[in-house]
Amino acid sequence: MSERRITRRQFMVRGTGLLGGLITAMVSVPAIGFLLSPLWATTPLLWADVQGGPIDDIPEDKPTARIASIQTETNPPQPPVSRVVYVVKHQGQLYAFSNICTHMQCDVHWDASLDLFECPCHGGLYSITGRNVGGPPPQPLPQWVHRTQVRGGRTYLQVANRLREEI
């Protein structure tokens, strides 16, 4: 019989510690993976029609709030949520702004008297092209990923379930 390297007591002390570590690792790996899973979850690009008909009649330089029913989250699958799409025509350009303030994501609205988008939470201001021109917002007003479709001579707007810029 070979010489004993550790005593029974040492074996049990170390064994208890080792098995305790194993138990911790066994439950920690799925826990941490589950916790972090939203980081690598992907959301497919889902298109939604902007409600209220074609956008041909929306006048130049008059931001107009429309609604789209957007499935923003798919992990787990969730019903679509009504979201604001500010349709803006300015100097020949078409914009489809969200009304999500880049400061704290409050609900921005177009104030015709100021000629600016205004956020009620902390007083953020954006120009008609979404440039952040006042208050605390750190970035321009984000647009929805969008595309136009011409059906029967009329232009319809569709938005996707994500913003063009990360905010």
């Binding site: 916790l35 980081l39 709030a65 969730q78 949520v81 400061h103 990360e166």
Partner: protein, 417 residues
């Protein structure tokens, strides 16, 4: 543990039989004999209830200033009220974006007792916020955080942070407009942390946008994660209180004779458990005079708790808990306003524009929070009287003043008062 054993002089006659040791058998009237009496005696013998009661109730506490020391037990009672009313709200509440609002709207319109319970939960949280603040303030004024009670203070500050976390996750649950926009703004704050901020926001929301996963997470935090941490911290806080004994305000440690050294040595000799406090400056290790926690202090504690609970019950009934319109992400007119206890933090957001938001939220608030946690390690002098501790009193007044000033600015900005 020898300090914990019951002093026979203080518990009445010297024990002859096990059942005479405590109060449990004493609660059974003399007329009751036979199996009931034997049953109580048996239960006490096997379970040791009297011993436990004695340990809890016959602690010595400082005699002077007893009304100021009621705030800790009042905080505990208010937290228990929150557990009680919160568990009852689970009879009805559904943590679903499509049903949370209607489940609470049902209480409001059709279940008066349920609405009352929800009112108690809301007013309980408001009251708890005040009382836990008052408790922290009195502990600060009497310098009860000094050696060896540093960890009493640290666990207490963490308890306060957990209570704030409970308040904000609770505010996220009704899924009315106030709740939806609170969720949106609060879960957006972490994204100002450089580098990892966006990831934290995604993990908190369970996605890029606020949705069902966000509500589920708030619910789990509010009813399981934070309460479990809260209970653990309460256990630690009370363990530390029993270990070191209550520290009263400075009036309890004045010496009256011409020989202060001899008077303090006398106090140390005659100290009743849990005094003298191990590791304490001898002057502050035993109060000049003590009373038993039961009934002297417990009576005062119960008076304060009863007043607070009655206030909560009445306010919960007559004022109740508000419910906005259902959550609507597509609103153009809703003005999100924070809960009143977050007004100072919300006002800070206005002060720090553009690239400074992260600095304002995390550096300024982080430094303030760290200083509050580290107070016992900063203020290490033996001095207890607040006037003789200007080096901590003045910064504390500045901090309290700033919080109140920010709150007033916030009220002015949001409500145009």
């Amino acid at each position: 543990m020898s300090q914990r054993t019951v002093d026979p002089e203080r518990s009445g006659a010297a024990p002859t039989e096990p059942e005479d040791e405590g109060d449990l058998i004493g609660l059974v009237p003399q007329q009751v004999v036979g199996p009931v009496r034997q049953g109580v005696a048996w239960l006490d013998d096997r379970a040791g209830f009297s011993h436990l009661l004695h340990r809890v109730l016959y602690e010595a506490v400082p005699r002077q200033g007893g009304w100021a020391y009621t705030l800790g037990s009042a905080t505990l009672v208010l937290i228990l009220i929150q557990f009680f009313s919160g568990i009852f709200l689970l009879l009805d509440y559904v943590p679903s974006v499509s049903q949370a609002y209607s489940s609470l709207d049902f209480l409001k319109t059709s279940d008066p007792f349920g609405a009352w319970m929800r009112g108690i939960h809301l007013w309980g949280s408001y009251t708890l916020m005040f009382i836990i603040g008052a408790h922290a303030l009195r502990t600060f004024i009497s310098a009860s955080y000094k050696k060896p009670r540093e960890l009493n203070w640290v666990t207490g500050v963490f308890l306060f942070f957990i209570v704030l976390g409970m308040a904000i996750t609770g505010a996220m649950l009704p899924w009315d407009q106030a709740s939806y926009w609170t969720t949106t703004v609060v879960t957006n704050i972490p994204h100002y942390i450089p580098g990892i901020g966006n990831g934290i926001r995604t993990l908190w929301r369970g996605g890029n946008f606020v949705g069902q996963a966000t509500l589920t997470r708030s619910f789990a935090l509010h009813i399981w994660v934070l309460p479990v941490i809260l209970l653990g911290l309460i256990g630690a806080h009370i363990h530390l209180l029993w270990r070191h004994g209550e520290h009263g305000s400075w009036v309890n440690y004045r010496t009256r004779s011409a020989d202060p050294g001899g008077e303090i040595a006398e106090r140390l000799r005659n100290a009743a458990a849990p005094y003298p406090t191990r590791g304490s400056d001898p002057v502050y290790s035993v109060p000049s005079d003590t009373v038993d926690f039961f009934p002297t202090q417990l009576f005062k504690d119960t008076v304060v708790s009863a007043v607070l609970v009655i206030f909560i019950g009445v306010m919960g009934l007559i004022s109740g808990a508000p419910l906005d319109g259902p959550a609507n992400a597509a609103t153009l007119t809703y003005v999100p306003t924070p809960e009143w206890f977050y007004l100072p933090l919300d006002q800070l957001l206005v002060f720090f524009p553009l690239g400074l938001v992260g600095f304002g939220v995390f550096v300024v608030v982080g430094i303030a929070a760290t200083l509050v946690i580290a107070l016992p390690f900063i203020d290490r002098s033996p001095e207890r009287h607040p006037i003789r501790r200007p080096d901590v009193l003045i910064p504390a007044l500045f901090l309290i003043g700033s919080v109140i000033y920010l709150a007033m600015l916030g009220v002015n900005r949001l409500y145009n008062l």
